[in-house]
């Protein structure tokens, strides 16, 4: 058992020349590009699915709040191929939502627009879909609340989540602000966002007697079992979840969703496997999204930039009965030194789909506000934005005074400044142009929590000399397969093609899964432990001492003895492994850090904002795979570009409908939006973070990324837009308001000064 309460110390992974850290291609890559990797909807055949499955199609509510009066399913039931129309009238009784269950079709209440109200199951997908359009619910609509700004006054203090209280306070905020010579009081807003991962939520449900197997798209399988067990009111040990490959998650697949529960219930009623995928439109509302936020920032400083007060208050919303809030001000507790520090979170109940975690919940939108407010303060001080941040670099955690395990925020900013050419930035806004384009440069700090959770894994060396690693950890496209393979290969001294990694199945030892940037720390440490135990077992079997043994080139080297692993494996040797964070996260502050630099162009005619180039510099402990780490980082940065410039769920405030519920109208950054982007990692090891001395990397890339663009827009134009995303209409509005006479008539070559 690895217990990270104490530093891991020297390990075999420190030995130079290993696979760990190398830019290894994904070991699952060939399977994916040749279509052989099975995603949830793609399992087929006797062995996995059993009998040929029936197909489900969900019918969703078209009102924002109210009651179902009746559901006319007569036409649908008579439609060709239809096997079942399930509604609240015939759905089985399920667990209560308050117990963590996710009941579907539970009663006649409509809580939000897009809530499932019926399921049609038929012999084919096409028949199910055609029949679904024949299901005619009638509703008694009720007026609902669908607007955060309108509900802000009624927002209340939410319950703590994950050990984090919604409020924190240190020092005399009001006094410090009153006394400080330089201060700002600004409000930023961020819109609701959708994860927009490629693979929609999908499940194939199969019953074998009273045992349920769900092939599903889920990031956290052990937690998924709990939710399924609670919902279907059955023992956990009769449930198996399989998610071998997942087409993106970004948090959308942290929870068990309607597809899994409806498929399971229908399969039981029909005594036949049922497969069910949500449509792209349904994904937006049936599953979860990131709440919009309203964030008030008050910063106060001395004239030399020394912060005297930081107050960050955030409002978000969630559906009735949901207690989760967007922790937008959480990172503000950890980032800058200040004698007075206040954070507060308020939650409004709205009649909208469920809000939940989306990549870097909290930081992603919190830093969009905080890091722009810091830029505003720097401008007011006439101070370089990096210098302001360096000036307020803390020596211990600003909120709780605990020591940092490792903290390389300042080196990240300095390295980035050097690589990006920060010294070429003209601090005077609206002073650089390139033809029609106003050009600006901006930066932002990045910070993200670096958690670890308890995890288990197994490792076994087969008679064929192949090392098999198993854990219920998932790979949502991040590279889990590959990094776990690299860890195992190095520890046993095998090439990567002699290692088989098997993930995403709850019949394997339990790992929490992919989420919160804890995946690699947790599952990686468990795999490390399993492989170390396997080394010991192999040596013990050969009667050799483990001390000082080196595993390399397919052999164990003990003293001057070289024992090939093949000869040690025999019929196969297995070992289990486990890892726990212990009190590592209580004794030390665990965060990963970075800095973003962005250059944007703002079209002086149209107000269009386009990224020109971007750099992220990150300190994430040991980099486990240079290629997948870079992909994670630039993927996160791309996420941030989307958040800054285009991503927003449009809500029809009349009924809470998510209007742009498709990828043509919900814009994420396209290739053409990302012209030049790079990510660089600062050498670092953190022996209190994980057995590999690595930190989580899945979310850091997006933290602060969008703020760097917004700050670049200010540098380009002198306009500060505090309402994300920064779309051209907001730029035009600002221009029309500030200097209408000067800018309404623009022709290329005669641009305003």
């Amino acid at each position: 058992m690895i217990d990270m309460s104490n530093p891991i110390g020297s390990t075999p992974l420190d030995r130079p020349g290993g696979l760990l850290g190398q830019a290894l291609d994904r070991i699952d890559g060939p399977l994916k590009v040749t279509g052989r990797a099975t995603y949830a909807y793609e399992y087929r055949g006797e062995g996995e699915v059993g009998a040929p499955p029936a197909y489900g199609f969900v019918v969703v509510a078209s009102i924002g709040k109210g009651r179902i009066i009746a559901i006319d399913s007569a036409a649908a039931e008579k439609s060709p191929g239809v096997l079942l129309v399930m509604t609240h009238a015939n759905a089985s009784k399920q667990g209560d939502r308050s117990s963590g269950a996710v009941p579907q079709l539970a009663d006649d209440r409509v809580l939000f627009h897009g809530q499932p109200v019926a399921l049609v199951v038929a012999e084919s997908f096409e028949e199910a879909r055609a029949a679904a359009y024949l299901v005619k619910p009638s509703y008694a609509p009720e007026p609902g609340a669908h607007d955060l700004a309108a509900a802000q006054e009624k927002a209340s203090v939410p319950a703590s989540r994950g050990g984090n209280a919604p409020d924190s306070s240190k020092g005399d905020i009001d006094g410090a602000i009153a006394a400080a010579p330089i201060k700002i009081d600004v409000t930023y807003t961020t819109p609701p966002q959708s994860h927009a991962m490629m693979e929609p939520h999908a499940t194939i449900a199969r019953w074998d007697g009273d045992h349920l197997t769900l092939y599903t798209a889920n990031q956290m399988l052990p937690r998924g079992i709990e939710a399924v067990a609670g919902t279907l009111r059955m023992p956990k040990d009769r449930i198996r979840l399989v998610s071998r490959y997942i087409g993106g998650g970004f948090g959308a697949k942290l929870q068990v969703q309607a597809d899994a529960i409806l498929a399971a219930m229908a399969a039981r009623m029909l005594n036949r496997p049922v497969k069910l995928a949500l449509t792209r439109q349904q994904v937006f509302a049936v599953t979860t999204h990131r709440s919009d936020t309203i964030q008030r920032l008050r910063l106060a400083a001395e004239r030399d930039g020394t912060l005297q007060a930081v107050a960050h208050e955030s409002w978000s919303d969630n559906a009735p009965g949901q207690t989760g809030f967007e922790g937008a001000a959480m990172a503000t507790r950890n980032i800058y030194a200040t004698p007075a520090l206040l954070t507060a979170h308020r939650l409004a109940t709205l009649d909208l789909p469920v809000s939940a975690a989306m990549r870097a919940p909290g930081e992603a939108v919190g830093l969009l506000a905080l890091e722009c407010a810091m830029d505003e303060l720097a401008a007011l001080l006439g101070m370089d934005p990096i210098a302001l941040r360096v000036k307020n670099e803390p020596t211990t955690d600003p909120q709780n005074g605990k020591p940092f395990a490792t903290r390389a925020l300042v080196p990240c900013m300095q390295k980035g400044a050097e690589l990006f050419g920060w010294n070429k930035r003209n601090p005077r806004p609206a002073s650089v142009r390139d033809g029609e384009w106003l050009v600006g440069i901006g930066m932002s700090a990045a910070i993200r929590g670096n958690p670890m959770l308890a995890a288990k894994a197994s490792a076994s060396l087969g008679h064929d000399g192949v090392l098999t690693v198993r854990t219920s950890m998932t790979d949502i496209g991040t590279g889990s397969y590959t990094i776990l393979g690299q860890i195992a290969a190095d520890l046993l001294g095998l090439p990567i093609d002699r290692v088989r990694v098997e993930l995403g199945d709850t019949s394997f030892p339990a790992a929490p899964g992919s989420g919160g940037s804890f995946g690699a720390n947790s599952a990686g440490s468990a795999v490390y432990d399993a492989c170390m135990n396997l080394r010991e077992a192999l040596l013990r079997k050969a009667g050799l001492q483990a001390d000082g043994a080196v595993f390399a080139d397919g052999a164990a080297l003990v003293g001057n003895q070289r024992v090939p692993l093949d000869s040690l494996a025999g019929d196969g040797v297995s070992a289990d492994g486990a890892a726990t964070p212990g009190d590592s996260r209580q004794a030390f502050v665990q965060q990963s850090y970075g800095a973003h630099f962005a250059e944007v162009g703002v079209n002086s005619v149209t107000g269009e904002i386009r990224l020109r180039r971007m750099l992220g510099v990150f300190a994430v402990g040991r980099v486990l795979n240079a290629k997948t780490a870079r992909s994670q980082a630039i993927g996160g940065m791309t996420f941030g570009v989307g958040a800054a410039l285009m991503e927003a769920i449009a809500v029809d405030k009349r009924d809470g409908w998510f209007v742009n519920n498709n990828l043509a109208e919900y814009h994420v950054a396209a290739n053409a939006d990302i012209p030049e982007m790079n990510a660089v990692f600062i050498p670092e090891t953190d022996d209190r973070s994980s057995a590999m001395k690595s930190k989580g990397i899945g979310e850091l890339g997006t933290c602060g990324a969008g703020a760097a663009l917004a700050n670049a827009v200010f540098n380009a134009t002198g306009i500060r837009i505090r309402d994300y995303p920064l779309t051209l209409d907001k730029v035009l509005k600002a221009w029309e308001q500030t200097d209408a006479g000067q800018r309404t008539s623009l022709s290329p070559g005669r641009l305003p000064g």
């Binding site: 055609a130 149209t606 051209l728 309404t744």
Partner: protein
């Protein structure tokens, strides 16, 4: 998607006859829009007549020196045609600014003209929409209408036509060649092809049941500078918020003629004849451009989220005209 029957037509006559004889029948070519709408239950044809094998995929010069573009010419092929690139660059650029490579490979010339609006409310059968279900109401008015029309709309519908290609064709004075089920041929000026919504937004063109588009013809290459400028929320794969096709001829320091068409602002490719008149005979100047811009949006109005389009039209037009007349 409801169950439907399908046939493949081997002649124009057979195709038009099949449509005329089968209630609820529709042509299908690239299917890039129709299939999406069928999956969403917005379009519910009972019968599809596949026209992909009709001999309508050629690009030929006309005897007048213009261009005849077959109805089935794919958007990618049209954009890449050397004659189009050389003589009608506004069309090539408009095509390439639309959709994605994959969609352009599939989408046809006639299908592009006949694509439906991207109005959110049109795409969801749970929402009232006069275009989809006459008499049910317009949800976009009073709803979320960022992408909607500021000119040419009515109290019953504020949807826009989403095509880029058609905007360039409008500026080029294109004509639509059609065949009727009785075999007769009719040529329709593109400016007469689309109907404004008025009280019947469900009727979008002047085409009669069974009438099939066989080609689009362009007059001989126009004199002057051709420009297509598209303003959008991301750098690719986004519909125009405002787009402008401008063909401007200058001589002796004056604008001899300006042909303008706009996308993203109206229920059809928008040809502002008053603005064109306001420019003709005048020296290029910010003032002249501004007057033209005012003429484009005269009588127009925003519906809240799309108010920005009114100033954006003027700014975009001004920049396009300045670029087109820079050498004057």
């Amino acid at each position: 998607m409801r169950a439907f029957t399908y046939e493949r037509a081997d002649s124009v006559a057979a195709a038009t006859r099949a449509i005329a004889e089968t209630p609820g029948a529709k042509f299908i070519a690239g299917g890039t829009n129709l299939l999406d709408l069928m999956k969403l239950d917005v379009e519910t044809p009972t019968h599809l007549v596949d026209v992909n094998r009709l001999p309508l995929a050629a690009i030929e010069e006309t005897t007048e020196g213009g261009l005849k573009i077959g109805a089935l010419v794919r958007n990618s092929d049209l954009a890449a045609d050397p004659g189009v690139r050389k003589n009608y660059p506004v069309l090539s650029r408009a095509l390439l600014s639309g959709a994605s490579g994959q969609l352009r490979n599939k989408a046809t010339t006639a299908g592009n003209l006949l694509q439906r609006t991207r109005c959110y409310y049109f795409y969801d059968t749970g929402k009232p929409c006069n275009k989809r279900e006459p008499g049910s109401g317009c949800s976009a008015i009073g709803g979320f209408n960022r992408i909607h029309a500021v000119v040419g709309a009515s109290d019953d519908c504020i949807a826009t036509h989403p095509s880029d290609m058609a905007v360039a064709m409008q500026a080029l004075d294109a004509k639509v060649e059609t065949a009727m089920p009785d075999g007769s041929l009719r040529t329709i000026a593109l400016s007469d092809f689309y109907r404004l919504p008025g009280k019947t937004p469900d009727i979008e063109t002047v085409l009669k049941p069974g009438q099939i588009i066989t080609a689009v013809t362009l007059p001989p290459p126009p004199a002057g500078v051709q420009i297509y400028r598209k303003v959008r929320d991301r750098a690719s794969f986004a519909f125009a918020l405002v787009s402008v096709a401008a063909i401007v001829e200058t001589t002796g320091g004056k604008i001899r003629s300006a042909r303008l068409a706009f996308g993203g602002i109206a229920p059809k490719p928008w040809r502002p004849v008053d603005a064109e008149r306001a420019l003709a005979g005048n020296a290029p100047s910010d003032a002249a451009f501004a007057r033209a811009g005012e003429a484009v949006i005269a009588g127009g109005r925003g519906h809240g989220h799309n108010d920005f389009k009114l100033p954006l039209v003027k700014r975009t037009l001004t920049a396009a005209l300045a670029a087109a007349t820079r050498s004057a």
